[in-house]
């Protein structure tokens, strides 16, 4: 017997992977040069990228910022670089950017649309980002109001506002600094009173925004809001005396009567007795990118609830309701938006009682809202269809009625599934707001055409369109990234 063994008894040590498989070289080999075709493609695309960047970068950065006309621009270019080719003339943006953003809105009132935008973002924060605490929300709001008050012309009333908001900002800010989030959570757990929900401000915002944009006395928005308050009061106190359904009907009826019959007189009366308000701005002075944001926000905000109702109507067992919803959705989706805008600009007054003449922007808003609602309804219907039947049956077996089942079981899941579709509808609507330039509103594209027709800027186009495209790209791209973030956040693991 010999102790010769032909089998290795100890393991070989692990070797490092070959140098060509790891690190930068490995990455390059795998992703850029995995085969000779890929290598050629890589070289070609590198050349293409170089070609594009070599055209764009000098154009953007070796450019003229201060010039009053295209000829002046070209003179400066000739003097500096000996040629006009390949250099941007940002002078046009430098001179007109405020107009491109605000249209003909009076320049001393620019603060109002800006405040409306800031408040919009603050009103949206509690909806969009739930990791921001209530204290933080209220602090930012108080700060925004304080800054606004500081920027207003001083009067006794404004001084009271300044002091009030300064106190609120300091108070909440002091708490925010001294009391950490976990301590605050403990306090709340022990029964400390929480700050009110910042969604309260979100609910107020739809009434605040038109007032800030159009100005006038404060009474019309307050009266509009009062309709909801009246409905709510009837709902709250009617329950004790009447059955639920009758209360519901009574609440809606009371609100509608208030809006249609009473609120006009009340707001007119109050406006003449107590003319508290800010300078009014006519709709025809609205323009620029502001109009895109205004129309986009209104259409997006209003179309989601209408879309949900339409989608439910389309899925419902009630034949007539279903037929009405299907007819509406298919009609709106079958015609281009531009024809609906023709209706808004030319025909809507024909369908109203003789003598009514309401604002063009309001008419466009209505049409854009209806348009986006139809698309939204289809997206949400897709979400509803994606839910397994078991969810409906589960809700039924728990004894939930239709609205409870929709609110607690169906809609949360259906909306979650349809987030990508909803957000791409939002983006589509926002982009479609540019169509108003065709019916004669001066949005960015309308203004760009006007600037191009101006004698001093005749012949300029890249700079203007690049600026406009940049504005839209920022907004749309951030919306699509937010939807991806939301999808990841709401991902429950089992798909």
């Amino acid at each position: 017997m010999s102790d010769v063994s032909f089998v290795r008894t100890e393991m070989l040590p692990e070797q490092a992977p070959p140098g060509s498989e790891v690190g930068v070289i490995g990455w390059l080999r795998h992703n850029l040069f995995s085969s000779w075709i890929n290598g050629i493609l890589t070289v070609l695309s590198l050349y293409a990228i170089y070609y594009v960047l070599a055209g764009i970068l000098p154009w953007v950065f070796l450019s003229v910022w201060n010039a009053g006309s295209l000829t002046e621009c070209r003179e400066i270019m000739n003097a500096t670089w000996g040629g006009t080719h390949g250099h941007a003339c940002w002078g046009v943006i430098n001179e007109r950017w405020l107009q491109l953003l605000f249209g003909f809105y009076p320049s001393y009132l620019y603060g109002r649309p800006i405040l409306a935008l800031v408040l919009l973002l603050l009103a949206l924060t509690p909806i969009l980002f739930n990791m921001i605490s209530r204290r933080m929300n209220w602090f930012l709001l108080a700060l925004a109001f304080f800054v606004t008050a500081m920027l207003m012309d001083a009067s006794i009333f404004v001084w009271i506002l300044r002091i009030g908001f300064a106190a609120a900002t300091l108070f909440i800010g002091y708490q925010l600094v001294t009391l950490s989030g976990s301590d605050r959570a403990e306090q709340i757990a022990q029964g400390a009173k929480r700050l009110p929900n910042p969604l309260m401000f979100t609910a107020v915002y739809p009434f605040l925004m038109p007032w800030l944009m159009w100005g006038g006395t404060i009474w019309p928005p307050i009266c509009a809001a009062l309709g909801f308050v009246i409905g709510f009061v009837v709902l709250r106190f009617g329950k004790d005396h009447m059955s639920e359904l009758v209360t519901m009907i009574a609440a809606v009826a009371a609100a509608v009567i208030w809006w249609l019959v009473l609120s006009g007189y009340v707001s007119d009366g109050l406006s003449s007795v107590l003319p508290i308000g800010i300078e009014a701005v006519e709709s025809r002075k609205f323009g620029g990118f502001m109009i895109a944001i205004l129309l986009g926000v209104v259409a997006i905000g209003a179309s989601l609830p209408i879309g949900v109702v339409l989608a439910l109507g389309r899925q419902s067992d009630l034949v007539i309701v279903k037929a009405l919803c299907v007819g509406f959705i298919e009609f709106i989706r079958g015609v281009p938006l531009i024809t609906l805008l023709f209706v808004a600009s030319l025909l809507l007054n024909i369908f109203m009682p003789p003598g009514t003449n309401f604002d063009i922007i309001l008419r466009v808003m209505i049409m854009m809202t209806l348009f986006s609602a139809a698309y939204m309804a289809e997206v949400i219907r897709g979400g509803l269809a994606a839910l397994p039947r078991g969810q409906y049956e589960g809700a039924d077996s728990l004894g939930l009625d239709y609205w409870q089942a929709q609110r607690l079981i169906i809609m949360p899941q259906a909306l979650k599934v349809s987030i990508p579709g909803i957000v791409s509808t939002f983006i589509g609507i926002f982009k479609d707001t540019t169509l108003v330039s065709i019916i004669g509103l001066f949005d960015v594209i309308g203004l760009a055409s006007a600037i191009r027709a101006d004698t001093s800027w005749n012949g300029i186009y890249w700079e203007l369109f690049a600026f406009i495209a940049f504005l839209f790209f920022i907004v749309c791209f951030s919306m699509s990234r937010y939807s991806m973030y939301l999808e990841r956040k709401l991902q429950t693991g089992h798909r």
Partner: protein, 422 residues
């Protein structure tokens, strides 16, 4: 002893209309119907009162009046003495032209970009992502106007082609002239033409049928019929013997041979654009407005189609291709028989709805002055006659018919490829 009693007879009470779920739905529907009819009646009543006050009750008589305006890009013969309805027809055909051209280009670019976005070449995938995000996130109207501006401002005037030392030359062996007034491409001509048939004589909807085109279609139809026969025979032989006879040369010959013979018989030649005076004559003139619209719409829609194609390919799990290769299929057959049929089921419905969007977006032609149906019926005709209600109604009806027929096709397709489950 048991006493059997009938359950108390249910009598109908008025409150059951609200509280009994059996009747409540009927109540809701009746109320909804009533409210809808009330609303419609109110709107129509208002419209009638308003139109009577304005002195223009609804009538479509204006359609047969003389249009009085010219349409520079058109498929059929038309002059300014023709009626509004013929102008609208020209517009409709122009809409269809740009829609079809746009759909074809958008599909080609979109499929290319979508596949390339999945490339394992990191750089190419990134470039395609940049393309998709740039085009998707900027309004299509901006792309259309930008394309128009570029075409007008950067291309040479027809004048530049003139003289002994022209600053611009024609492209593609002197056959295509790209100018800032549009692109001139060669046109097919026949020296022994079969002539045209005039249909509908002198009416508004008259059109000509080119007998040459008909002859080509017939020959092409016969060729395809023959090709199918050859393939069927090859299949039968393969079933019987296991060997498939070579057919590709027969198929190629059948496809091109008869057409070539017909071309020679009819004396086919190309008519090239030529510079006469300050402009090009001859050839087919594609106006800048058409090219700008076509280019912008197809590049914009291609970005969406690329995303659809990518999603469709990603939706097929790798298990499918692995299973196919386990069955011993070659990669080309795997693609044709396993991957594509499944991917197409995911891809085609959203693709068609994007074609629909492209067609509806072509109404933005009005921004660059391309005379589509929105530019004729909803533009000049409406402004000239002041018949807003009638024009917008007709415009909507036209688009509705187009959309509903496309979605009809989509539903038919969806049903035909639907997975049949238990």
């Amino acid at each position: 002893m048991t006493i059997l009693t009938d359950p108390p007879k249910e009598s109908f009470r008025l409150s059951m209309l609200l509280y009994d779920t059996r009747y409540r739905s009927a109540t809701i529907q009746v109320i909804a119907m009533f409210a809808f009819m009330l609303l419609a009646a109110w709107l129509i009543n208002n419209a009638i009162i308003n139109l009577n006050t304005l002195g223009k009750p609804i009538s479509f008589g204006f359609l047969s009046d003389t249009a009085g305006y010219d349409i520079n890009q058109r498929l059929l013969d038309y002059d300014s003495q023709d009626s509004h309805i013929r102008a609208a027809l020209m517009g409709l055909l122009n809409t269809l032209v740009v829609a079809v051209l746009g759909c074809i280009t958008a599909t080609i670019v979109g499929v290319f970009v979508g596949v390339m976005r999945l490339s394992n070449n990191w750089l190419i995938a990134r470039i395609m992502t940049v393309y998709v995000e740039t085009f998707r996130n900027v309004p299509v109207l901006l792309w259309i106007i930008l394309a128009m501006a570029i075409l007008i401002e950067t291309l040479p005037m027809p004048r530049a082609f003139k003289g002994d030392t022209p600053t611009a030359t024609m492209d593609l062996f002197n056959t295509v002239a790209v100018t800032n007034r549009g692109v001139y491409i060669p046109e097919p001509l026949f020296s022994r033409s079969l002539g045209d048939i005039h249909v509908l004589g002198d009416m508004a909807l008259r059109f000509n049928i080119s007998m040459d085109l008909v002859a080509f279609l017939i020959v092409l139809g016969l060729s395809i019929f023959g090709m199918r026969k050859v393939t069927a025979r090859a299949n039968a032989i393969q079933e019987e013997t296991g060997d498939r006879p070579k057919t590709w040369h027969v198929l190629l010959g059948l496809l091109f041979g008869p057409t070539l013979v017909l071309m020679i018989v009819l004396g086919f030649h190309l008519g090239y654009p030529e510079l006469k005076g300050f402009n090009f004559k001859g050839g087919i003139h594609m106006r800048n407005s058409l090219i700008a619209l076509w280019l912008a719409l197809s590049l914009y829609t291609a970005a969406f189609i690329a995303e659809i194609v990518r999603a469709g390919i990603l939706a097929i799990s790798t298990g499918q291709s692995e299973a196919a290769s386990a069955l011993g299929m070659r990669s080309s057959r795997t693609m044709r028989l396993v991957i594509l049929p499944q991917a197409l089921r995911v891809i085609i419905p959203p693709m068609i709805s994007n074609y629909l969007n492209l067609t509806k977006n072509s109404s933005l032609a009005i921004a660059v002055g391309y005379m589509d149906i929105t530019g004729t019926l909803g533009g000049i005709t409406m402004n000239q006659t002041g018949r807003e209600l009638e024009c917008v109604m007709m415009l909507m009806a036209v688009y509705l018919v187009i959309s509903l027929s496309i979605s009809g096709v989509m539903n038919w397709y969806n049903n035909s490829v639907k997975l049949v489950e238990r």
